[in-house]
């Protein structure tokens, strides 16, 4: 292993000063639940670890004027303990409760989950369905505000520059009439990297679907929104026929891989079953 240095900046100015000064291969770290296994497997070999976990002002959950803002350093445990998240964005709440296990959740951060860009990242589908934005900072310049559906480029690849930090994530509080669900299919619940996961949010007016948001994990190179499916639900009364149509669309829109967890064919089938289950649950009216 090459030489590694480690620093813990106390604020963003210190972070960017360190980035500028050192001409070394840098790696930001937060909860380290991904980074340490990667380093051990020599998938990455950074020369300078910049620990973001002392940046206290990036660790918060706030609601202001109908916007919910979550600091990038917020742990998954903190999300599961938050009344704001539980009440205002139940799909994010249930995804947080299903991420790994209590030990992982205590360290894993929401920013690390998105920046890692695993196709199966549990925070991604609910945040895609909530139409979240990722806010970033890089050096002295203005930050960027990136729509989450433009954020992922491929497995472990995002639009972030190597020295760009996620500062926080925002989304509008869903309407009171919105209903949603997050379902994760994994093997062996204890560790459960998803085989397929789905986040679904719909707004109904009477029998008619006004707005639909559908996002999937683990069935494409990145977590995705399924726009064609959303369009096929909006403005319609959702009956068995529509649901059947949608499950066909789903199979066309995804490109799962075969890996040690499941075959591509299985993932396609499971996705459509999961979608049917999700929409039926949501139509039953439970506000999950």
């Amino acid at each position: 292993m090459n030489e590694i240095d480690y620093i813990t900046p106390k604020n963003l100015e210190e972070v960017f000063r360190a980035v500028e000064k050192k001409k070394r291969k840098i790696k930001f770290i937060a909860g380290c639940t991904n980074v340490i296994p990667y380093m051990r497997g020599e998938a990455i070999s950074p020369e300078l670890l910049i620990d973001l976990s002392s940046l206290e002002n990036l660790n918060y959950i706030r609601e202001e004027n109908g916007i919910i803002a979550i600091g990038a350093l917020t742990t998954i445990s903190k999300l599961t303990a938050s009344e704001i998240i539980r009440n205002q964005s139940p799909i994010l709440f249930s995804a947080a409760s299903l991420l790994g296990n209590p030990l992982t959740r205590n360290r894993a951060t929401i920013g690390g989950n998105l920046a890692d860009a695993s196709p199966a990242a549990d925070m991604a589908p609910p945040l895609l369905a909530l139409e979240a934005f990722v806010h970033t900072k890089r050096g002295e310049g203005e930050g960027r505000e990136i729509s989450l559906d433009k954020f992922f480029l491929g497995p472990n690849k995002t639009v972030l520059a190597e020295d760009e930090i996620i500062t926080h994530i925002t989304f509008s509080k869903p309407k009171d009439s919105a209903r949603g669900i997050y379902i994760k299919l994994g093997f062996r619940n204890s560790m459960a990297i998803s085989v397929v996961s789905i986040a679904l949010m719909i707004e109904m007016e009477g029998k008619v679907c006004q707005k639909a948001r559908v996002a999937l994990g683990a069935v494409s190179p990145t977590p995705i929104r399924v726009y064609r499916l959303e369009k096929n639900l909006e403005g319609k009364e959702i009956d068995q026929e529509i649901i059947q149509e949608c499950s066909v669309i789903l199979k066309e829109e995804i490109s799962p891989i075969s890996d040690i967890r499941a075959s591509a064919e299985y993932r396609k089938l499971a996705t459509s079953v999961l979608f049917k289950r999700a929409i039926q649950e949501v139509l039953k009216g439970e506000k999950t």
């Binding site: 813990t8 030990l103 619940n189």
Partner: protein, 155 residues
């Protein structure tokens, strides 16, 4: 040569100062530098929970933490759970009473998770206990008695 750093932290109530390499894992420093071998090292990738310690009161996997990152932290290992007079924590007593130990490799992690749950929830149900020890594997598969032992501490 790996860069070295001096790290100050508290372990089981005692202040310690250790010189560690930048990439040293907390589990190795606890076991090898400080001789606290109650904390076990097994998978090294966050999958098994045998390396669990309390960091600032919260259970964490010491195989997924850099030792340099715990500067200033308060750490409790299984050795620190008993009282200074040597009397055991009620969860430890319950593990003995319920024979919830076979080879003992998972026990430190299980006991710490049991303690953590009981601190937050004084009378957890069986399913709450199962959910809380989800990340802690017992390769001897003695889960029934482990859950029973933790449950017996509820009131």
């Amino acid at each position: 040569m790996m860069k070295r750093k001096i790290v100050n932290f508290k372990v089981n109530g005692e202040s310690r100062e250790v010189l560690v390499e930048s990439n040293a894992l907390l589990v190795n420093v606890l076991r090898e530098e400080l001789g606290l071998t109650g904390t076990k090292y097994s998978c090294g990738t966050g999958q098994c929970g045998s390396c669990t310690v309390l960091v600032n009161g919260k259970p964490a996997l010491s195989c997924l933490m850099l030792a340099v990152a715990v500067d200033g932290a308060d750490i409790v290992t299984i050795e620190g759970l008993a009282k200074p007079d040597g009397s055991l924590d009620p969860v430890q007593e319950a593990f003995l009473d319920h024979s919830a130990i076979q080879c003992g490799f998972c026990t430190p992690g299980m006991v710490i998770m049991g303690r953590d749950l009981l601190n937050k929830n004084s009378n957890p149900s069986e399913s709450e206990i199962q959910e809380h020890i989800k990340g802690t594997l017992c390769r001897c598969t003695g889960y029934t008695s482990i859950v029973r032992a933790i449950k017996s501490c509820g009131k």
